[in-house]
């Protein structure tokens, strides 16, 4: 098979003596939709922080492949915006949109394109960008609210808007942190379908708690279980669910 698009090897990160990430190994392959689960404090958000340049690992390497070759770009040297420009986009656990801007402007600011100061000064929307924005607005079902201030949207709508912003930047890798939080069952299901439809063109990592949702999106894909900052086990959803270690640390405790 091909090379991983993203690989973390032997990564450790300590905060004030607490090992949030401990000798973690993780490989993500092109076009894959990977689900990461784990109890609270397992290090899921910290793991995303390390991948996106928000935190630097104490030891270990994190590499990214911008072509089909083996991963060669060292992400630990780069900062947030450099990593984003390489094509790694992130959606945060708490939806973070530009609350004072309209839905439309939120998407315009996220649209793939030059990010420099002067590009922004002389920026104009061409018709293809406009079409892209229209189709994105339809996709995230905010077409009729495009002039709303993002701050006025419901929690679920903000989640969708943030997913839309993520897509607008056309990343190769999507890191999605708890996308279904605060959504109704129906919205959750639709989110799952959206993510599944993205698989193949994008490589996706989803961190999630909601087991129904995890089951939906894992759909034959791999599930990684994090525990105390390391990978406890990895495999298909059913294998993971029946794994006694997992039941002990996670399902067993959480689902009584």
């Amino acid at each position: 098979m091909s090379h991983p698009i993203l690989q973390a090897e032997d990564v450790t990160k300590t905060y004030d003596g607490f090992r949030a990430i401990n000798a973690l190994n993780f490989y993500l392959f092109p076009g894959e939709l990977r689900t990461v689960i784990g109890p609270n404090g397992a290090g899921k958000s910290t793991f995303f922080d390390l991948l996106t340049g928000r935190a630097k690992p104490d030891t270990g390497t994190i590499r990214y492949a911008d072509s089909d070759a083996a991963p060669s770009i060292d992400l630990t040297d780069l900062n947030e915006y450099e990593i984003q420009r390489l094509g790694i986009g992130r959606k945060f656990q708490t939806p973070s949109v530009f609350a004072e801007h309209t839905v439309f402007t939120n998407l315009v600011l996220s649209l793939k394109g030059p990010r420099g100061v002067f590009a922004s000064l002389f920026h104009r929307l061409d018709s293809s960008a406009r079409d892209r924005l229209d189709s994105l607005l339809k996709l995230i079902r905010l077409d009729d609210k495009r002039h709303w201030k993002a701050g006025l949207l419901s929690h679920g709508e903000k989640q969708w808007l943030e997913i839309g912003m993520l897509l607008a930047s056309e990343p190769r890798v999507l890191l999605v942190d708890e996308p279904a939080a605060g959504m109704t069952d129906e919205e959750t299901h639709r989110t799952g379908e959206l993510l599944l439809s993205l698989r193949g063109q994008h490589s996706i990592v989803v961190v999630e708690h909601d087991m129904t949702f995890v089951k939906q999106i894992s759909d034959g894909g791999r599930v990684t279980v994090l525990h105390q900052g390391s990978v406890l086990c990895e495999g298909k959803f059913d294998d993971v669910q029946s794994n006694p270690k997992v039941r002990e640390v996670y399902l067993g405790r959480g689902k009584h």
Binding site: Y15, S45, T46, D49, R54, A55, F92, Q93, T94, S96, D177
Partner: protein, 556 residues
């Protein structure tokens, strides 16, 4: 002028008369009335006489202001003239050299009074005046006051006259004060620098180097700078000794200066710490820097001023009780500033907990209003604060001067830090404060009355500012603009030290205080300050991601 001075000295001497040995006074009297041909010798013999009346009497004599007063049949009495207390006619009374008391009419027992012209001054001749001058020159060596002795000994040492050697050596044999002894040794060595014997000279150089005499270093340098063929130039051996000596002395003093600066830096850092502690606490709680913090400090300083005036009015400014006003002022300053802080919190800040930049502006507005209030109440000029006696002066250890008020500030800062630590870590309030600092919403959810905690914490931080103000009143001027002077440094401490982190504040304030003091002699006060500012900006570069990198799940 000279007359008044000598009379004053004489009166002083008279006051000390009971302690003066009669034998020395008798020798003095005898010299005054000795036959003309023996008088010069008798005067010269007075050298080394330990008698408080010696200097004033001889001074007066030389100035032709010593008189012989004849009373009835008795032999004439040498006396000085002094104004008669309560007499407006300008009549004078005679104070006898023998006992310093007014000369009385033997018939009536009343003090005799004279007009200035009625008496004839005791005669002097040129050789006699020279003798008196010589005696006076060295008289200080035997003065009862150690400070006077030291000064006159140092002067004799500077004169480099070998004639003075015996006198100084004689004095060294009986001198008991350590400070005067060391001055004597220095002076002797100084004179011996000109000794014909080279080993004596070398020994003198070594002695002076060991005594770290700055005056000696200056002289050595002069001598080193002399051309080799000049008269008085040092031999090679001596030259080497001189150079070593200069180095020893200069090393010593640069060490002394270093430690002196270090000490001043520590005390400046302690002041900063006192100011910044309250700031760091209120900042940690509300996330905003209280721009009126400096004015809260001034409230404390003015409170000290008011307490001082109350004590002065109640006990009198020189009284023993007055000296304790400062101890009473400390709690008053704390309470006054805490009260003002409470009003500010209730009136302004409580509405702005979520808008840090705006509360920074609003508190600036408060600070302007407070400054103007100080001006209206206490006047625009600085007010006079008299340090209690126990905070005046200082002590020295290995030539490093330790002023008492600075020592006090350091000790006080240690106490306050400890107190703050106790409050934050060992009291119910501290627990609540830390809970609110860490997570305001969560604390409020589990039933912490955050409003009350805010109020109390803000008042506590403000009270600390008041304490800092009280302390500062002992170190510098107290005026309406005083808060602005120190506040920027305090902000710097908070920026580089950390939020609600007592240890960080301690490290930052001591660091800034000491750096500032060590840089000042090299760069001047202003450049030192600017350099510290840039050091802080660079320090923040070194901590990438800012001082307090976020690592929560949500973004901001």
């Amino acid at each position: 002028m000279l007359r008044t001075l000598s009379i004053f000295l004489f009166l002083l001497a008279a006051a000390a008369l009971s302690a003066a040995p009669d034998a020395s006074r008798a020798r003095l009297l005898a010299a005054l009335v000795a036959p003309a041909d023996q008088q010069v010798a008798a005067v010269r013999a007075l050298v080394g006489l330990e008698d408080a009346a010696l200097v004033p009497t001889l001074t007066a004599w030389r100035a032709a202001e010593l008189y012989l007063v004849t009373t009835g049949t008795a032999s004439p009495v040498p006396a000085l003239l002094a104004p008669l207390p309560g007499d407006a006619d300008g009549r004078l009374q005679a104070l006898a050299v023998a006992d310093g008391l007014p000369v009385k009419d033997p018939a009536t027992g009343q003090p005799l009074t004279f007009a200035p012209k009625e008496l004839k001054a005791l005669d002097t001749t040129a050789p006699l005046r020279r003798a008196i001058r010589d005696v006076l020159e060295v008289a200080g060596v035997a003065d009862p006051s150690p400070a006077v002795r030291r000064e006159s000994i140092e002067r004799l040492g500077q004169s480099r006259k070998a004639d003075h050697l015996p006198l100084l050596q004689a004095r060294l044999a009986i001198e008991f004060s350590p400070a005067v002894r060391s001055a004597l040794q220095d002076a002797i060595a100084f004179i011996q620098l000109a000794d014909p014997a080279v080993e004596v000279r070398l020994q003198a150089i070594t002695d002076l180097a060991a005594a770290h005499s700055l005056a000696a270093a200056a002289r050595f340098k002069e001598q080193i700078a002399l051309p080799a063929d000049a008269p008085g130039a040092a031999s090679p051996v001596e030259l080497a000794a001189l150079k070593t000596a200069v180095k020893t002395i200069e090393d010593h003093w640069s060490r002394v200066n270093f430690f002196g600066n270090l000490f001043r830096g520590l005390s400046a850092g302690s002041v900063l710490l006192l100011i910044a502690l309250g700031l760091a606490i209120t900042f940690g709680l509300m996330g905003v820097i209280n721009m009126a913090h400096g004015e809260l400090m001034v409230v404390g300083a003015y409170a000290t001023f008011v307490v001082q005036n109350l004590f002065a009015a109640a006990f009198g400014p020189g009284s023993l009780a007055f000296n304790f006003y400062f101890l009473a002022a400390l709690p008053v300053a704390f309470a006054a500033a805490a009260l003002v802080g409470l009003v500010i919190e209730r009136g302004v800040i409580q509405f702005l907990y979520k808008r840090p930049l705006e509360s920074l502006l609003a508190t600036w507005g408060v600070s302007l209003a407070l400054q103007q209030t100080f001006r209206l109440v206490f006047g625009p000029a600085n007010v006079q604060i008299n340090a209690p006696a126990w905070l005046q002066g200082g002590t020295a250890l290995y030539d490093v001067a330790f002023a008492y008020n600075r020592l006090f500030v350091i000790g006080f800062a240690v106490l306050v830090v400890f107190g703050v630590w106790l409050v934050l870590n060992r009291t119910p309030l501290g627990l609540l404060v830390r809970a609110v600092m860490q997570n305001r919403q969560m604390a409020s959810c589990i039933g912490v009355k955050t409003t009350r905690v805010n109020m109390l914490t803000f008042a506590f931080g403000s009270g600390l500012a008041g304490l800092a103000g009280a302390c500062l009143s002992q170190l510098g001027n107290v005026g309406p603009g005083m808060g602005q002077l120190h506040i920027i440094d305090a902000f710097m401490v908070v920026v580089s030290g950390g939020v609600g982190n007592v240890l960080g504040s301690v490290a930052a304030s001591l660091g800034i205080g000491v750096t500032d003091q060590l840089l000042q002699p090299v760069l001047g006060a202003v450049m030192g300050k600017i350099l510290v500012l840039f050091a802080i900006i660079l320090f923040l570069q070194w901590r990438p991601g800012g001082l307090f990198p976020t690592r929560s799940r949500s973004l901001d």
